[in-house]
Structures are given as structure tokens and as C-alpha cells.
């Protein structure tokens, strides 16, 4: 069922957590709310769940399946919610945790015991924890607990599934597994889902659409491809993975920084002379032994890290100063394939030339070309 939140504001004692946020999630969609801590993503999720209320404002509406959520008590709205720290009922077994939502139904809607047991067992099979049904949450690992929490939320056949940093407290490997598992689960049971996370990799991997939040506002919303390749703001670029930043100026349609220039097509002549910020991802840089066309910056190889699927090279510009505040002194990070790395035969300490293949240019303030 679709979620439609319009013009949501939320003010806590002394700061504004949400500033006029509008969000629409289509039926069956899995979206990720991505942002740093304090960006308002969890607040927005809790408002959609009904656990927090937005500031009162005649423009504000929070609709689930077209119905205003303020009209119905939370307990009747069938919201599936998964907490970061599981919030399992510690004195109940795994089975009873999953069964809870079915047992507290009003008497006339309650399932008979055999039907209830069948349903809970089906869910336990889904999360592959049938053998653990009589254990208590404290006897399970973090990953298992979170699967129980998910099954418990699914038991009430929720109209929407809200996940608040569900994998945040788990270690990297378990997180990987659960992400994939959640993705498969969602294709089997396509319930409208909102996943809150601060982990960009998780968002890019799991979600149909990513909504990037910062300081109580939505920065950009789009498919993983869109936000990654066509970021709408500097914040989005820097938040979605590693990026090198070069400072330059606009000069006749190009952003010029040091000996390098990249196309800034779209910048009118009026933009000439304005400061430009050029963001280049590590894999969008190339290393050459000889400067061709002169369009390259000379740098020393500082460190090479070749353990992994790609080779990371850290370089320091020759024109860098000892002043660490100077943007020119920031290290340049380049990612190469192992083939490229072997062909170049790089060694630490030697001087090479760095060339920009692709870049995103923002003419201050926050204006993409």
C-alpha cells in the first residue's frame, strides 16, 4: 500500500529534525532513506509508523493507502516495524514472539490455536529458525534475533514494513547475508517497505529507490543508478562513497584547476571566474607515466594497497604544500584494476601523472552543470 507523507515538519526541544519533507512510496516499492545520523531519517520513519507525531500544520498529511494515519490508533494500523536493537520480547520464546501479533488480536478476529501454530511455523521456516522456536532471544545471535523481529513484523500481514537501521548492530558478514535475504524476501512478499540506513552500500544494494536526506531535508530521490551517477548536490556526491575534491574556477565553459581542466558544459559565460568544486570518484581517475595533451597533474605515489578486488593508490600532488589545510595538499585517491596496475608497474615514491576521465562540477553554491 502506498505511503504518502506531505509537508512534514518535526521540531524537538531545540532543533528541527524535519523541514517540510514530502515523500511518496508506491505500492510494493522498497525504498531506502539514506543519510548521516541526525539527518531526520529515523524521525520520518517513526512519524510514518505513528510512534511520533509531526508538528501540527494544516499542510501536513501522512497517508497510508490513502487514509490519514492520525485517524486510527497505531494498534489497528498493521504497521510492521523492525527496530535496530530488535526489541524482541525478552521473556518470550522465539515462537511466542512471532505469535504475539496474532494472539493480541480482538477475540473474534483471533486464529484458532492450530491455525496460529501453522502460520507461525511457516514464518519460522521462512526465517530458517524452526529449530530455535523454543529458545529465548538472549540465546540467539544478532542476525537470528533480527530475523525473528522480521518474522514477528510479517506475522500481522502488515500494510507497510518499516525498518529502522535493521542491520546496524550486526557485523559486516551477517549484514551482507541479511541484505540479500531481505531483497529475496521482498521479491517473494512485495510489501511496501521503507528501510532507514546510514550505510550507502546497503541502500544501493537493497533498495528500488533511494531517498537521500541531510539536515532534515530530502537532498535527492531516485534509483540507485540515478543518485550515484547523477547526484543532485555536493552532499549526495560526498555521501555516496569516496570522492576526490578539486577546487578550481570556471573558464569559458570549463572548470580549470591547476594544470587540469574538465568540461563544465552548461556553465554560461556569466559563470566565468566563479569558484568551481570538482568531484572525481577514485575509479574516474587515470594514472599515466607521460603527460599527454598536458592535461594532467603530477603526483607522487604515497601508498599502494593491492589486496582486494581493485588496487587503491594514494598520491600526493607535487605542488602540494606543507599546510594541511590547503586543499591542494589533500591526497588523491585512485582506484585501478589489477590489469591496469600490472601494466603501469607502479612503485611507491615515483612520480606519475593523474588524469581525470569523468567528473561532476559544482559551481558555488551547490549548482551542478
Amino acid at each position: 500500500m502506498a505511503i504518502d507523507a506531505r509537508h512534514v515538519n518535526k521540531t524537538f526541544a531545540n532543533y528541527q529534525a524535519l523541514r517540510d519533507v514530502s515523500l511518496r512510496v508506491d505500492d510494493g516499492e522498497l525504498i531506502a532513506l539514506l543519510g548521516p545520523s541526525g539527518s531526520g531519517k529515523t524521525t520520518l520513519l517513526r512519524i510514518i509508523a505513528g510512534l511520533d507525531s509531526p508538528d501540527s500544520n494544516p499542510e501536513t498529511d501522512v497517508l497510508v493507502d490513502g487514509d490519514d494515519i492520525s485517524r486510527q490508533p497505531i494498534s489497528q494500523r498493521k504497521v510492521g516495524f523492525v527496530f535496530q536493537h530488535y526489541a524482541l520480547f525478552r521473556h518470550m520464546t522465539v515462537f511466542e514472539n512471532v505469535a504475539f501479533g496474532l494472539r493480541v488480536r480482538p477475540r473474534k478476529l483471533r486464529l484458532a490455536e492450530p491455525a496460529l501454530r501453522r502460520k507461525v511455523n511457516e514464518l519460522l521456516e521462512l526465517i530458517q529458525l524452526v529449530r530455535w522456536s523454543s529458545h529465548y532471544p538472549s540465546q540467539l545471535s544478532g542476525g537470528q534475533r533480527q530475523r525473528v523481529a522480521l518474522a514477528r513484523a510479517l506475522a500481522i500481514e502488515p500494510s507497510v514494513l518499516l525498518l529502522d537501521e535493521p542491520f546496524g548492530a550486526l557485523d559486516a558478514k551477517v549484514r551482507q547475508e541479511l541484505r540479500r535475504w531481505l531483497r529475496t524476501l521482498h521479491s517473494r512478499i512485495p510489501v511496501t517497505s521503507v528501510l532507514v540506513t546510514h550505510d550507502q552500500e546497503e541502500a544501493l544494494e537493497v533498495a528500488d529507490r533511494i531517498v537521500i536526506m541531510n539536515q532534515g531535508r530530502i537532498e535527492q530521490s531516485g534509483t540507485p543508478d540515478e543518485v550515484f551517477h547523477h547526484p543532485a548536490s555536493e552532499f549526495v556526491v560526498t555521501f555516496l562513497g569516496n570522492v576526490n575534491l578539486f577546487h578550481g574556477r570556471v573558464d569559458s565553459g570549463r572548470a580549470v584547476f591547476g594544470d587540469l581542466a574538465v568540461s563544465a558544459n552548461g556553465a554560461g559565460h556569466g559563470a566565468d571566474g566563479k569558484p568551481a568544486r570538482v568531484f572525481v570518484r577514485p575509479h574516474e581517475l587515470e594514472i599515466e607515466r607521460q603527460p599527454r595533451n598536458g592535461n594532467a597533474v603530477a603526483a607522487n605515489v604515497v601508498r599502494i594497497q593491492s589486496a582486494g578486488s581493485i588496487v587503491r593508490v594514494e598520491l600526493s600532488r607535487l605542488d602540494s604544500t606543507t599546510d594541511s589545510e590547503d586543499p591542494v595538499s589533500a591526497p588523491i585517491n585512485v582506484e585501478l584494476t589489477h590489469d591496469q596496475y600490472r601494466a603501469l608497474a607502479l612503485t611507491t615514491g615515483e612520480t606519475v601523472f593523474v588524469k581525470v576521465r569523468d567528473a561532476r562540477v559544482f559551481v558555488s553554491p551547490d549548482y551542478q552543470i
Binding site: S75, F83, A87, H91, R131, I156
Partner: protein, 286 residues
């Protein structure tokens, strides 16, 4: 000790003995000795005198009043303690810290002063003295006064036991329950209460022990009317002041026995909690 462990992670033997003797000495002099003294003195004039002392109508009346007071006190403080802890731990509101401090007042105020407060408020010359008298209601120097003073003195026990636990547990389980469709009562009964039950029982035991043994506050408001407003501790005092030592100790032993029953209940509870929290079955055997 021929097989001395290779790695010693313990104090030198001399210090061990010294520490143990100090601890045992303290317990012996301050706790064991008085308890033994109570029973020896109580039985000094023989078992028959002992039995007649504790079955004396006045002693029985005091016992009845003590038990009645404890029962009412526990019920009242159970309700209050649960409500206050729920409010303080699960919600935030202006004046929360003030309420927390108010709950602690009975711990900070001397019991005699607590008793005096009730005299000043409900006594004949007190604030409500006239209106109470005109409605023929007697609070001070009657059972209600004794009960009120006891409730006041034992007021913080249950709340203080619950608040830290409930604060530590947070509200997420309750939020989860509500989102799963539980109403307020179901949430309280199936989620909140099971999580705090042992702390609750523990608070009740502590409050009960204090309620039965309270002397200062009750002494001020009771008026020492024999057979009517005397609790067990007050009855002991009267007998003692009348040089009726053996009878005083006999009744005191009754109070001691009640205390011992409470302690046994507490120990049994602690044992039960340990059993319940023992990690039961491991993963693989399932």
C-alpha cells in the same frame, strides 16, 4: 594446601584470614548476637510464659494491626509504585525530576518528623482537625493514622526498585507490542509486567519488612492505645518500659520471626531468579 596453584590470583593468606574474621565479627556482634539475645530473653521464664505472652489479647491485637497495616501499605504502594515508575521511565514531561525527588522525601526525612507531619495536618489542632472532627472522622491516634504514616515511610521502596530497571529497558518493547496490535492493557500485562516482575516482588518484600518494623513515625501518630492503635514494635516498647522484659522479648521474637519469614521469601526469590536466568539449552541440542 599441598597443591598450590601455579598462578596465584589471590590475596596473601594472612590478609584473607584477617578480612574474614573482621566480616564474621561484624555479623556476629551486630546481627547474630542480638537475634540470639532476643530468643534467650524471650524464653528465660520458660516456654509456658512465652506462649502466654504472645497469646495475650493485647499482643494479638498488636499483631493483627501490624499485619493489617502491612497489607494495606503494600497494596497502596504497589499501585503507586507501578504508576509512578511507568510514568517516570516511559514518558518525559516537565517536572519529572521534581517528581523523582518527591518520591525520595520519605527516605530523607526522619520517621519521627514524618509522624509529626500527620499530627500537624490531621490532628485535633491541625489544618483539617476541625472539619475532620465535625464529620466524626478520626485519623490521628487511630488505625488510619498508623496506616498513613506507614505508607508514607515505605513510599519509595517499590518505585525506587522499578524506575532504574524500567529506564534501562526503555520503551522499544512496548512500542513493538503496540505496533503489533496490542492495546494498552495487553502491552502492560504481556510485555511490561513480565519484564519487571522480580524487581516488583523484591520491592514488595523490602517495603513489607519496613512496614512491619516501622517504629518512629507510627509511634508519633498512634497514641499508644493498647489493643487499638498499638503495632507490634510499639507493644514491645510498652512492655519494656513496664519492666516486663521477658514478655517484651517474647513479642519482639514474634517480630523477628516475621522478619525471618520475609528474609526467607527474599532468599527463595533470589534462588528462583538464578534458576530462571540460567542459560538453559544450547543451540546444537535442539
Amino acid at each position: 594446601m599441598s597443591t598450590a596453584p601455579k598462578y596465584r590470583h589471590t590475596e596473601p593468606p594472612g590478609l584473607q584470614v584477617a578480612l574474614i574474621l573482621t566480616a564474621v565479627g561484624f555479623v556476629g556482634v551486630l546481627i547474630l548476637l542480638p537475634v540470639i539475645a532476643v530468643f534467650t530473653e524471650a524464653l528465660r521464664k520458660g516456654l509456658a510464659f512465652y506462649i502466654s505472652s504472645i497469646t495475650d489479647p493485647l499482643a494479638l491485637a498488636a499483631l493483627r494491626l501490624t499485619l493489617l497495616t502491612a497489607a494495606i501499605t503494600i497494596t497502596a504502594n504497589l499501585i503507586f509504585g507501578l504508576a509512578a515508575s511507568w510514568l517516570i521511565a516511559k514518558f518525559s514531561f516537565p517536572g519529572k525530576n521534581l517528581l523523582l525527588s518527591l518520591i525520595d522525601i520519605p527516605f530523607a526525612v526522619s520517621p519521627v518528623i514524618s509522624g509529626l507531619i500527620f499530627i500537624l495536618v490531621f490532628g485535633a489542632q491541625g489544618w483539617f482537625g476541625d472539619s475532620l472532627a465535625s464529620h466524626n472522622i478520626q485519623i490521628v491516634f487511630a488505625t488510619p493514622g498508623v496506616v498513613l504514616a506507614t505508607i508514607f515511610v515505605t513510599f519509595p521502596f517499590i518505585a525506587r526498585e522499578l524506575i532504574p530497571l524500567m529506564q534501562e529497558q526503555g520503551s522499544e518493547e512496548e512500542e513493538a507490542a503496540v505496533l503489533l496490535g496490542a492495546n494498552g492493557w495487553q502491552t502492560f500485562w504481556h510485555v511490561t509486567l513480565p519484564n519487571i516482575r522480580w524487581a516488583l516482588v523484591y520491592g514488595v518484600i523490602l517495603a513489607n519488612a519496613r512496614a512491619m518494623g516501622e517504629f518512629g513515625a507510627v509511634s508519633v501518630v498512634s497514641g499508644h492505645i493498647r489493643g487499638r492503635t498499638n503495632t507490634l514494635p510499639l507493644h514491645v516498647e510498652i512492655l519494656y518500659n513496664e519492666y516486663n522484659f521477658s514478655a517484651a522479648f517474647a513479642v519482639a521474637s514474634l517480630l523477628t520471626l516475621l522478619a525471618l519469614v520475609t528474609l526467607v521469601a527474599k532468599a527463595a526469590l533470589e534462588w528462583k531468579i538464578r534458576v530462571e536466568e540460567r542459560p538453559a539449552i544450547t543451540a546444537e541440542e535442539a
